[in-house]
Point group: C2
Chain length 425, copies 2
């Protein structure tokens, strides 16, 4: 630790889309890179909802960081949790040791926000990590198992009612996937219940679902959601979440499984930098991604609040994080040459959300697609960007199988289930 | 529950190899079948070590019981845990309710036995369930991550020493797979350690590994294990297991990860029947698989102690369980016709164990195979018997990928890792 290497030392915190792109860009460049993450894998978050709905296995959408970066001799992967950052001393503290840096890229992302109702987290888990996804999968499958066994009609209906809170892309995708699993995959597997009678309710506080999309696509998404049997309620907030259900517009809806897709808050590390953050805890960055007064520190992805030409900060999506990751890496190479970091421009190539089999919306700027064509584009883009050849083939194969048979393979209930087997009283 | 159905009611407890075969055999027959399991899937246990060593995902070797049996309208799958069996009242109690039966097949299998040292379970987990496999995978991968970070040379060596206690098929397979992952898969992924320097120690109390196999194959297995770099110690028992290591022949071996593959004890349900059990808790069954005095109750698989022509009970392997499952089902159909249950004969088609890439032994009765031919037979048989077309294709694809690239895809460390990150002190 004492003998400083000759080459500038770059520390990247976070191996998500932003951090990984930055690392790759710095591979084989005249810098020593340490990539720190508290998991040992890069997670392809856009497909996390497919793990939560039993279509894919965790390993299908996760690639070991060491394996992805194994060919770059100047990149070290460190499996550790960052506990503090001392920007004055240029030092990152982890659970194991302190790491000095010449340049720092912070890409630690975000978690769910329950808007002050933190007690809701256990009642309505969000979907950010593999652990979240496996927990939601367990709750979904357990709800049907429970409904199959319980003689009480009201309890059975509550077990077969699923509420998704938040109508952004994640909420829309979860609602569509749950409706499909109930109507097709599980339809014939039970003797005492008819899974296709399950209620799936999507609750969005805004006036429309996918409020970040153009209005015509929101409307199309709404129509497609209703086609797969999702009940969509907009313009209201869910409240009074309990084990037994939740309240919408003064009406109590008994429901066992609740899923949170309503809000994000940036990783706490942003607040420790001593610079301004927005209401969601995101670091307000300069237009070159550096933080005020510290050009050697850059913040990217979900952790950054970057205002382009509008007053709206860039959304927390993977293309933003990836472009910022590459830009931050290039900035470092530029600064090493004694030049100033350059302004970041986001090239928006569009956005997409899928509702189910042959159902999606895609905003490609020049064209708005709905239904089958949008779904094909979604499929193509997601396979294209999925990390690692092995993962691509494995996922394609499982999708093809599921498409032909309506079956989903990863329907495993793991971990201790005893607590879940009792009525929620 | 009150209105007894016209058709005889068969309850099968356990959806492993024995229980599942029995259920399939009774599918569409004039009986009402309830299959009870405390997991919602059938587990292909012979490949569990591949989940533990990051080659396969849990879902690759598990098939949802409901999906496997969905076409049989006379079979109900119940996801519950059996708490007691009242053979006088012909009733099975579960965590949810009581289920009456006319015929009962018990196939609840076995767990590890620590021979009275139950405190060793946490120190050296065994390999029976998916949870076990994921936990062992986590410990293996964490050991390398820990070694990469720790500056202390002795602690690093302890982290890179792996002890497998028990040299039966499971122990041999685990030892071979760990040696391979260290030498090939992880070889280039670290900067501060050389994973190929890992020590893998296999400890067997008997004079030879694979003591259930013919002697020439034991010797061949020993040779092949040494070829992949496994240190084999036979004729001694491991003792004094602690966090820091274990003792063999009076010598203390510092090692962080210990895996138990040394002994089994039958599921506790066997002892509750009121009939004789052997030392391992297995129910001593009649030669027709029924229990003394209760022809309507049959016990099969790992839970049964069945003596064929010799004094040795049949081994706890899947072919025995499957043949007994089919036989027990046929016995029920025979008894329904008013005839007596028939004697069970085991047709031993051979046994196999794999050591690694191109390395295995196979006892096919007429021929003893070693190395590549044995490995090919092993591959063929395991793919052939893997439940479900989807699982077969997924596993084949991943094996092909791993064979060509030496890579393993499922290298995920999940769950809270904080506790593991500290030195074991």
């Amino acid at each position: 630790m004492e003998n400083q290497p000759q080459k500038p030392r770059v520390v990247i915190v976070g191996g998500g889309f932003g951090g990984l792109e930055a690392a790759k860009k710095l591979g084989d460049k005249p810098v020593e890179v340490t990539l720190i993450d508290r998991t040992n894998y890069h997670l392809f978050q856009p497909l996390l909802y497919q793990v939560a709905t039993a279509a894919l296995s965790p390993a299908d959408i996760a690639a070991p960081l060491r394996a992805v970066l194994t060919d770059f001799r100047n990149i070290e992967v460190m499996f550790a949790e960052v506990t503090a950052i001392d920007v004055a001393a240029k030092r990152v503290s982890t659970t194991d040791r302190e790491i000095p840096y010449d340049y720092l890229i912070l890409a630690t992302g975000s978690r769910h926000s329950y808007f002050g109702n933190d007690q809701w987290e256990k009642l309505a888990p969000g979907l950010k990590s593999l652990e979240d996804a496996v927990e939601i999968r367990r709750r979904l499958l357990m709800a049907f198992e429970y409904a199959e066994k319980i003689p009480d009609e009201a309890a059975r209906r509550a077990a077969m009612t699923f509420a998704i809170i938040g109508g952004g892309p994640t909420g829309v995708e979860m609602a569509g996937a749950i409706a499909e699993i109930a109507r097709y995959t599980l339809a014939k597997d039970f003797k005492h219940i008819d899974p296709s009678q399950a209620r799936v309710i999507l609750i969005e506080g805004d006036k429309r679902v996918l409020s970040g999309f153009p209005e015509d696509l929101s409307e199309s998404a709404l129509k497609q959601l209703r086609e797969v049997g999702v009940e969509v309620i907009t313009g209201v907030h869910a409240s009074n979440l309990t084990e037994e259900g939740l309240e919408v517009k003064g009406e109590f809806i008994p429901c066992r499984v609740k899923i949170w897709a309503a809000g994000n808050t940036a990783s706490a590390v942003g607040k420790s930098l001593g610079v301004a953050v927005d209401r969601a805890g995101r670091v307000i960055v300069n237009n070159d991604l550096t933080i005020p007064g510290r050009p050697e520190v850059q913040v990217i992805g979900d952790l950054a609040h970057f205002e382009h030409d509008t007053d709206e900060p860039l959304p927390g999506v993977s293309p933003v994080a990836m472009q910022q990751g590459r830009h931050a890496a290039q900035n470092i190479l530029t600064m090493i040459e004694g030049l100033k970091p350059r302004r970041f421009w986001y090239r928006n190539k569009g956005s997409m959300a899928t509702i189910g089999r042959n159902k999606a919306v895609a905003d490609l700027n020049l064209a708005h697609l709905s239904g089958f064509p949008a779904w094909l584009v979604w499929l193509f883009v997601h396979i294209l960007f999925l990390v690692g050849f092995r993962n691509r083939v494995a996922v394609l194969l499982q999708w093809a199988w599921a498409y032909v048979t309506f079956n989903k393979g990863a329907r495993l209930i793991t971990r201790n289930f005893q607590a879940e087997m009792r009525p929620p009283t």
